[in-house]
């Protein structure tokens, strides 16, 4: 079934945006491993050494997703939505 587009693609950023951030570079497992090691210490999390790889893998995944958001320009006046209303 062929369907026609209904609306124009929305602009990727609204009016009065800041310049797009420089694309996030990929972090190496070593860098994120170091962040994880420092983080568990700062947060007083008692982890075992064989958990480190799983934590670092997930941290890499999170930073990959974060890079997409970090690279999206928003106006300085943007409000966060921590108390969310539909």
């Amino acid at each position: 079934m062929i369907r026609k587009p209904l609306s124009r693609k929305a602009k990727s950023a609204p009016r009065r945006t800041k310049p797009a951030a420089r694309p996030h570079r990929n972090h190496s497992p070593d860098e994120l491993g170091a962040l994880a090691a420092a983080g568990v210490k700062a947060l007083a999390l008692p982890i075992e050494s064989n958990w480190q790889a799983g934590i670092t893998f997930n941290l890499q995944l999170l930073f990959k997703h974060a890079a997409l958001i970090d690279g999206f320009a928003l106006p300085d006046e943007s409000e966060p939505a921590p108390v969310f209303r539909a």
Partner: protein, 470 residues
């Protein structure tokens, strides 16, 4: 009164069971005994229940029978058995939320609000249902309780995290069950088990006395074998609740009275761009439903991929914050797959989480603009039919993706901004798959009317698996 053997409620809808009870064709005690017998017979295979409330159910059934014999008014769900994901408080039981750690919690003092409302409407609670640990799951696997099994093929996943609700309803144990949905935990299991599922607008149904996951986009709702059952049960649960701080102060807007209203004039489009699935089954399902609705236009949700990423980040951060004390005290008692993600989430810089929250507001405004052009949007509910239990990856077009992280790629960008969604199951062989019908905030009626019309036309249906017969 008919004997139990003459009345087979295994695949009856909640509406049909309630009608039979109201007409005096069956007793509530018979209905409950049948349901308990089905649980005993089938649940060793499905592994959907983690606790049965047999005594409570029998007492409740007897009370309903007595009230009917006294000629008292029969409430709308009288005699209908149901069960709840084990993150709902059930008085007298610890609320385990799929975990080992919460088993040490004291028993809940009071039922969750939605259980109270359903019982006021005459429904009968049968017990608590399996789920992914702390709802951080799309697979239905659980290292503490074992995986729930898909009734269409017990070697396959139910999807998660509302795994037990989907297995129990698709397996014919109960006509409906309650689940929760943060990133897709009602919609993914509904898709994989071939069921109707409703994730209402954020703030519509009370979450009071349920164990949280990510407070800013936790939702609760029903899973059932018909769209009408979704409407009936949803109507029974409506209403403001001061015990849930985000429950909206809105008048109850029941859907059942308008369910059969014509779809004439409703504008339905298909989500394009990010939602253009490259796998055969979701494409077939979308095309079939789009054709039935005459939805011949595509519409693009702007920056949906970023929305999914923002949902991913906020989820990890909020869940990590929730569980930080338990990670400090009892990290070894978590499922390792949950624990590693939670610890990683605790490391996320606040600057990135706040940016995700700002993006969320921007994205919500952009998507809401689309609802000036359309009334409903169709999108896949899952990128594939049910994978095998233990399967690590699946193919999506040319890509091979991890199952655990990606079963919710099409649901995350929707619940993230609180839109109401009904999943409509499309029968396929060998496995069903679902389509999301997404409506504007507070327009559950639109999504439910469309799902009901599709069911009436035979396009959407909850197929009875071989297991569900007899």
């Amino acid at each position: 009164m008919l004997e139990t053997t003459a009345f087979d409620s295994a695949w009856m809808t909640a509406g049909e069971v309630a009608a039979a009870f109201a007409a005096g064709r069956v007793s509530a005690v018979s209905i409950v005994e049948q349901a308990l017998a089905r649980v005993r017979a089938r649940d060793p295979l499905l592994n959907s229940f983690t606790a049965l409330t047999e005594l409570r159910a029998r007492l409740r059934a007897r009370a309903l029978d007595d009230a009917r014999s006294r000629g008292e008014p029969v409430p709308p769900l009288a005699g209908v058995p149901f069960a709840v994901k084990n993150l709902f408080d059930i008085a007298g039981l610890p609320t385990v939320a799929g975990s080992k750690i919460n088993r040490d919690f004291p028993p809940a003092a009071r039922d969750a609000t939605l259980i109270e409302r359903l019982e006021t409407a005459g429904a009968i609670l049968l017990g608590a249902l399996n789920m992914g640990e702390y709802a951080y799951d799309f697979t239905g696997e659980n290292v503490h309780d074992g995986p729930a099994h898909n009734p269409h093929d017990p070697k396959r996943m139910t999807g998660g995290s509302s795994s037990g609700p989907a297995a129990a309803v698709a397996g014919g144990l109960v006509p409906f069950a309650l689940g929760s949905d943060t990133n897709g935990s009602i919609r993914v299991p509904s898709s994989l088990c071939g069921l109707f599922g409703l994730k209402p607008t954020y703030g519509r149904l009370s979450r009071a006395r349920t164990f949280p996951f990510c407070a800013s986009f936790d939702h609760v709702g029903p899973i059932a074998r018909s769209a009408r059952d979704l409407a009936i049960t949803y109507d029974a649960m409506l209403g403001y609740d001061e015990d849930d701080p985000v429950c909206a102060e809105r008048n109850a807007e029941p859907v059942t009275p308008v369910l059969d209203r014509s779809l004439d004039g409703l504008r339905v489009a298909v989500a394009g761009g990010y939602f253009k699935c490259r796998a055969a089954e979701p494409v077939y399902a979308i095309d079939r439903i789009a054709a039935a609705l005459g939805a011949n236009r595509d519409i693009e949700l702007p920056e949906a991929e970023r929305a999914r990423s923002a949902a991913y980040i906020i989820t990890a951060s909020e869940a990590a914050s929730l569980h930080l004390p338990r990670l400090r005290a009892r990290a070894k008692d978590f499922d390792p797959a949950t624990r590693d993600r939670l610890i990683a989430g605790a490391m996320l810089p606040a600057s990135l989480v706040t940016k995700a929250q700002k993006f969320r507001r921007w994205y919500q405004r952009e998507v809401l603009k689309l609802f000036t052009e359309v009334d409903a949007i169709l999108a896949p509910a899952s990128p594939c039919p049910a994978p095998l239990i233990g399967q690590q990856t699946f193919k999506l077009g040319d890509l091979e993706l991890p199952v655990r992280a990606n079963l919710g790629i099409y649901t995350q960008p929707i619940s993230f901004i609180g839109l109401p969604v009904v999943v409509a199951p499309v029968p396929m062989s060998p496995l069903p798959i679902g389509v999301q019908i997404i409506a504007a905030p507070w327009r559950e009626d639109v999504a439910l009317r469309i799902a009901h019309a599709l069911e009436t036309r035979g396009v959407a249906a909850a197929q009875r698996p071989p297991l569900g017969e007899g």
